[in-house]
């Protein structure tokens, strides 16, 4: 019943063409067809944020998003986030012990990149609100928030 269609989208700056069927979610396409397995599968119903990617610059749960709807649009995954800001977020997470098992980390880095690109100096309340859709079962969140505060306090926007 599910019809298959060829879709073209920009993924991490490269034009990619891939087949999608039915209402297949974007996460499955990214992981299984484009082999971008940094995007993690958690709950599969838009609750945990492990699969967060940027669609036209906005954070979305790729497990709950129809891949076909991403045709012609711009997608950024954890693999594509190599800019100065993203690197500083990753480094701060390491330094503040904001990573334990690491499963939620790609989604958190993507979410934080979206936040800090838009708002350079969020306060703690806003950081916590922005992370409210990212579940982490290891850290208790405090170290993650500390990491963001380090990035904010250490200043200069994306190099």
């Amino acid at each position: 019943m599910a019809t298959t269609e060829s879709i073209t989208a920009t993924v991490n700056g490269r034009v990619e063409t891939f087949d999608v069927s039915g209402l297949e979610c974007l996460m499955d396409v990214l992981r299984d067809k484009l082999h971008l397995s940094g995007t993690k599968e958690g709950c599969r119903e838009g609750e945990c944020g492990a699969c967060t990617v940027l669609l036209d610059g906005k954070p979305i749960n790729s497990c709950a998003y129809i891949a076909r709807a991403a045709g012609g649009r711009e997608i950024e995954t954890i693999e594509g986030l190599q800019d100065g800001l993203s690197l500083r977020i990753k480094q701060a997470l390491v330094e503040a012990s904001g990573i334990q098992c690491g499963y939620c980390t790609p989604g958190i880095v993507v979410m934080l990149s979206a936040l800090l690109r838009r708002i350079e100096t969020p306060d703690e309340a806003l950081i916590r609100e922005a992370l409210s859709g990212n579940v982490c079962r290891c850290t208790g969140y405090s170290q993650i928030v500390d990491a963001v505060l380090r990035v904010v306090q250490n200043g200069a926007p994306a190099a």
Partner: protein, 289 residues
């Protein structure tokens, strides 16, 4: 199943006319994708309408027009909405995480008509009207309270798309709030949601008008009009609020589900209501003094 990404309102209306009840409208798809995949909603054609600019955005000319395809994050952050209709911004900012809010729309939340839909109570207390557009009959507006028929059932005709919500400006000495009872502070659907808009009289002591809407306590969100009438002209004393809460409870058919029991819902509703009244009264007094 056909999947069509559409870019103009005209295209949507044309497709809705030909597919009728066999079409499903999908914007961000955060709720309806699951319903389509699980077979809870059946469709021969999925019309992707997320990118239709004509139904997006917030504008004000006395009446505030909220495009049906405006996403929840934009609503939560809109200066206009935060200032004039804080309960609407609060509800949008509590519905899922930012990842959901980036693509979920107010039109989707309302037309999905889930029993615990977050945007329904605040829009109901604003006396919002929904604008429905079809190719055959143009646009019509309907009071949101008349649009909501039952759980997951609305008065939208198969050839119509919700295009906007219209909210009149609130009067002086008014405040509104959305109170949500939930098990955890994020990524949760409400056990009970109460929106309230309170207007005090000149003395700032008595209720001039109150509007109360409740979700999660019945098949679909509703305005508690009997309680509103009871409180009008009264001082919002403990006794008066208790009496009003009793009347609201009588309107409810509390459900038991995975989130809470019917008796918990019944017990918590009066407290959420009293909290909402107290917060609004304080906000009005603060602004007026």
């Amino acid at each position: 199943m056909e999947f069509l990404s559409l870019t103009s309102l005209d295209e949507v209306l044309e497709k809705l006319e030909s597919f009728g009840a066999d079409a499903a409208l999908v914007a961000g798809g955060t709720a309806i994708r699951h319903q389509l995949v699980s077979g809870q909603i059946k469709a021969k054609a999925v019309l992707h309408i997320e990118l239709i600019g004509e139904a997006q955005g917030i504008s004000s000319n006395g009446v505030t027009r909220l495009g049906a395809l405006t996403n929840l994050r934009d609503i939560a952050e809109s200066v206009e909405i935060v200032k004039r209709f804080p309960s609407v911004a609060q509800a949008a900012g509590k519905c899922g995480g930012w990842q959901t809010q980036s693509v979920a729309t107010v039109g989707g939340n309302v037309c999905g008509a889930a029993p615990n839909a977050d945007l329904l109570p605040p829009l109901l207390v604003q006396d919002a009207e929904i604008e429905l557009t079809s190719r055959a009959r143009g646009s019509r507006t309907l009071a949101l309270s008349d649009f909501l028929l039952d759980a997951y059932k609305t008065a939208r005709a198969p050839d119509e798309m919700a295009s906007a919500f219209l909210m009149p400006a609130p009067p002086a000495r008014s405040a509104d709030i959305y109170v949500r009872i939930q098990r955890r502070s994020a990524m949760e659907r409400p056990i009970i949601g109460v929106a309230l808009r309170l207007t005090l009289d000149d003395s700032l002591k008595k209720v001039q008008e109150v509007r109360i809407a409740v979700s999660g306590a019945s098949a679909v969100a509703f305005r508690a009009t009997e309680a509103e009438t009871l409180l009008a002209g009264q001082t919002p004393s403990k006794d008066a609020l208790r009496a009003a809460a009793d009347v609201i409870q009588k309107r409810c058919t509390f459900r038991t589900d995975a989130r809470a029991s019917a008796s918990y819902r019944a017990a918590v509703l009066p407290r959420a209501f009293a909290h909402a009244v107290s917060e609004c009264a304080t906000a009005i007094t603060d602004i007026s003094s």
